[in-house]
Amino acid sequence: MMENEIIARRHSRILSPLTHAGWPFWVTVIPLALLFLWSFFAFGWQYERGLGVTGMGHPMSWTFYLVNFVFFIGISHAGALVSAVLRITHARWGPPFGRAAEAVTVFALAAGPTNILFDLGRSVRFYWVALHAQFKSPLLWDFTCIMTYFAVSSIFLYVLMVPDIALLRDYLPGRKWLYRPLSLGWAGTEKQWHTLGKVIGFLCIAVIPIAVSVHTVVSWVFGMQTQPMWHSTIFAPYFVTGAIFSGIAVIIIVTIVLRKVYHLEEYLTPYHFNNMGLLLLTFTLLWAYFTFVEHLVVAYGGDSHELVVLWSKLSGRYAPLFWAMVVLCFVIPFPILAFKRNIPGLLISSVCIVIGMWIERFTIIIPSLSEPRLFYARGAYMPTWVEWSMTAGLFSGFTLAFVLFSKFFPVISIWELEKERKETPP
């Protein structure tokens, strides 16, 4: 008990957001909550009247919701990959990012598949995918992988929090109703630490293939179809790379904001961000490589149906979006990350990458649908207020979940900092 008191005092900066909420908190939370609630109204409106209230039509039958779906599932890869890989490799700079990354994973995984619910013609019957499963459908593979990943990453987030929850149980007696059941009777005995170590080791290994499988099958929702420029063999690794890429960018944004708002400068130092920046740089290059390969092969192959889609991206209707993506995902972040990995630089490149990756999902999905093989079905797509509201609601819901999470649980893993402190000689 005494030891906990000392630890809590030592990390008072991490714990103070749990007990204090000033006006900035309310100024953030209230608009986010309003936007979030507004999206419920928009969904109700759409549910009542039919999907006709969106801008979708024929052949543009998969649009914003699918873009958001792929985007959020992509972000969810941050947690697993970053925190598990860094733990397995014992990267010293990893621990301060771990908790934020794991939380991003869980909330993004809650936000992503929700889009499928919006997109369904009969949303309340979504569980029929499990009830009347048809194993040849890539959507069923999706459903299976995403649910597995959601379960495993929730457990991952939770298990890694147990010692911290036990600390909070003793430190904040006022919230005993919450922390006591969640702490699972953690007392910090030798045996408990041993079990925890084993469980974490297992989860770290298990979560990586699951995460990779998730974005692989998400890519196959498109890659397995015969649509021009979707039917590509590199879609799976391309999507997984893009997913980790956008995930790392989101982790960087989240941690920079937390560092600023909660004054965590002593935990999240430029040294940590420099390393994270190097990781992001690697994925910038990987993404550029995949994008180049994907488009060059199509151009050289010269299949007439695919060329129509390719030119609509390179110089046609979708050219502004396509080139914006290239600029945001590569041209801006690459020099910054290569030469100036300081915190403002990282923030700028991460914001660019997140926006760019959303556009990437858009330019993958929409142009192929708008140029199907037969010349008579041609579509133009313009989202209506319903789609914008749902998108705004999703992003604010995601942010809101994170803000509230940071008010109930420490955003940096305290016990891991302590462990590291004990291991390093003074």
């Binding site: 039919g50 006709g52 039509g57 024929h58 052949p59 013609g121 995918v129 048809q134 890539p138 037969l374």
Partner: protein
């Protein structure tokens, strides 16, 4: 076992769109309205598309009626997560309306883009409602629908044949589009019966199918326009 198929003689097709209207009437397809039609929400189980070449006065127009191709290897059925669409034993790619949850993956994976979605609940003008076909389900909002070769007519013909204890004869089943075509450009029948008109026409030298290279094996055959087009 029957294996239903259609033959469309492009030499005879005048592009009058009577088949489109007949299909609409038979299958209770609601009107989309101008705004929705512009968004591509008009439903054409049978559609006629036009290729216009040249400009006035030297114009050449070709018409191509497009129903569902009823592929033998349909790309649409395998992607449905709830098995709401399947190829029935007689080769018709059918939609189970009550099972469909509106994922629309079948729509995006159909290379012929002949699957349609119910963006709104169906509605008809009051005076029109008395003319709706009682044999055909009025599809609710949020589900996918498509041409099914007038499956209700096939069922009726089967019942009649069963009563008389015989197989369906040539000409017993006539889908609405085939029945109405003024220039008799459409034929329908059993491709498994080597003597049926459709199976003979499908082996004609003029016969082709749309995008055969995809390997979907459609059961809708087209007969290309005649020889006198050559040397133009």
């Amino acid at each position: 076992m029957y294996r239903w198929g259609m033959v469309i003689d492009l030499d005879r097709c005048t592009g009058c769109q009577a088949c489109v209207i007949a299909c609409r009437q038979e299958n209770n397809i609601p009107f989309a309205g101008e705004r929705n039609a512009r968004l591509g929400r008009a439903k054409f189980w049978m559609n006629v598309i036009y290729e216009v070449k040249g400009s006035y006065p030297d114009v050449k127009i070709r018409a191509l009626p497009i129903p569902c191709m009823h592929c033998d290897h349909p790309p649409c059925t395998k992607v449905c997560p709830v098995e709401a669409t399947y190829k029935n034993p007689e080769g018709i790619v059918a939609q189970i309306y009550s099972r469909c949850i509106g994922v629309r993956m079948c729509i995006s994976n159909c290379p012929y883009t002949v699957r349609y979605f119910n963006w709104y609940a169906p509605s008809w003008p009051e005076e029109y409602k008395r003319g709706l076909n009682p044999d055909v389900y009025r599809r609710r909002k949020g589900i996918t629908e498509k041409c099914n070769f007038c499956i209700q007519r096939i069922r009726r013909a089967k019942e009649r044949a069963k009563k008389e204890n015989r197989r369906i004869r040539e000409g017993d089943v006539v889908p609405a589009c085939v029945e109405t075509c003024p220039s008799e450009a459409l034929y329908f029948g059993d491709l498994n019966d080597p003597r049926s008109l459709v199976s003979r026409l499908s082996k004609s030298r003029r016969a082709f199918r749309l995008m055969e290279d995809l390997g979907t094996e459609p059961k809708v055959y087209y007969l290309k326009e005649g020889e006198w087009d050559d040397g133009e």
